[in-house]
Subunit: 256 residues, 2 copies
DNA sequence: AGTTGACCTTTACGCTGCGTAAAGGTGTAT
DNA sequence: ATACACCTTTACGCAGCGTAAAGGTCAACT
């Protein structure tokens, strides 16, 4: 099989510009050029491109990818380790940045700094935790025997790292939700993103996700005043808004 | 007070190019231009620049900074929250990348990398791990922002080969130290060799070595009982002995 | 044969935040 | 007068393409 730029591009899910660029920098040259000057790629090039895209997804620079795939004796694992080193340093920098930004925001808003536990507790308080478990019981009856037990086990079993992640997810969710609420459209991009974040957040507590259960919980946010109070604490109507967004997200809006 | 570009640049610790660029994009224009076309900055501009650099350190785009500082009614906290959102997303992406890279490395090396637990269990136990991190925090304060982050990154990044090396170094250190302790003289050849080995061992964990930090750690070996307990586990007094040897080795003994 | 319309080509600017010349004017001390 | 430190503007380069612009090619339809 032979392919023109566009055919290969479609096959691999990249743009034709990308392929021309790869040709330009000598990363992936076509098998041959036809009489009209068209780039013609063969099967080998398809394989090469797969490789290239694989490494690209790992975030390697094209120059590094070139070194890896053109020199057969090149130590790819070593290159990856060096790459990982860079990524880790980047993340460390990001962490420091986020810390600073957090502190600045808190300072600007006149709040004091909190430690992890306070953050966690401040977000979702004990009451909400109880509610979550309580709702879990209903899931258990509806969606399987030990879903709740697993959920609890999952919670108890959270490492500090996971703990941090879930707290972070919650922050993201709250922010996105607030912005989405301001925008006003539960089917809008922001609101759907909030629903997505809510799903991700849920998966920390629920062992298995289902659209039905997700939509069910959304309904409870409006039906149960304790949930409502929590989500409405800054902006009244947020719980309802979140429910609508989730119903749209799960596609369960038409049935209830 | 009035300043030329270079004077202001030196004052603020940026390049003159940066100031000209900020002028170019309208982020910070000089108070006036003198008859020769020189940029002249006044006290207001100094204050502005401080603000700009503050936000720049938080990683905001110059365009956003411009919005914040030029529009007095602008909600800086809101901008920061949106910025944080971006940072959090970036970090989530980075985490995913790192995961992928880790998996790829493992696969390529056929299980020759180890996870953190495996790395640590071999030689330093959990307690020492905590201590290392704890001391790391103090380094961070004393010797630079991200020394610790880099240190952790370095550790995560160790290949099996490097891991073996550090384990071997530790064995050598322990043996040499035991012999030196038996000999009794911290300035003696064996003790100094132990100090040297200790230094080499440290460089696996610290991104940059300095005599000051080395001597500081040595002091902590005596000051902090958890360190002491670790080094004294076979022969009481070993921690103290190692400290003395290191102080002599680093030439920092006279100051403490 | 002519004309679409979908494809192909090369050239080149734009994005971010400056670093780094290059080519030339200014200010001041010697 | 000369040297030297300072100032100016203009402009390329960096990574990895997106996005025109200006123009050939190929198959199909009128």
């Amino acid at each position: 099989m032979e392919y023109t730029v566009q055919q290969l591009a479609r096959l691999a899910g990249v743009s034709t510009r990308t392929l021309r660029y790869y040709d330009e920098i000598g990363l992936l040259e076509p098998a041959r050029i036809n009489s009209s000057g068209y780039r013609i790629y063969g099967v080998n090039e398809v394989d090469m491109l797969q490789q290239i895209l694989f490494y690209r997804e790992l975030g390697l620079a094209l120059e590094d990818i070139k070194a890896i795939i053109t020199a057969p004796s090149f130590d790819a694992a070593q290159a990856l380790r060096e790459h990982r080193q860079k990524l880790l340093e980047k993340r460390a920098q990001l962490d420091a940045l986020i810390e600073n930004v957090n502190n600045t925001i808190e300072q600007k808003e006149g709040r004091s700094t909190m430690n992890d536990k306070e953050k966690f507790n401040g977000f979702k308080n004990k009451m909400m935790e109880e509610n979550e478990k309580k709702y879990g019981k209903e899931i258990r009856e509806k969606y399987g025997e030990d879903a709740v037990n697993k959920s609890n086990a999952k919670l108890m079993n959270m490492s500090e790292e996971e703990y941090r992640k879930v707290a972070e997810l919650e922050m993201q969710l709250n922010e996105t939700l607030a912005q989405a609420f301001a925008a006003g459209d539960p089917s809008g991009e922001l609101a759907q993103k909030a629903a997505e974040l809510h799903k991700q957040w849920l998966t920390f507590y629920w062992d298995q996700y289902s659209k039905e259960a997700h939509a069910g919980l959304a309904e409870m946010y409006v039906a149960d005043e304790r949930f409502t109070a929590y989500y409405d604490k800054d902006q009244p109507g947020t719980a309802k808004f979140l429910r609508d967004a989730i119903l749209i997200y799960t596609g369960m809006g038409q049935r209830g």
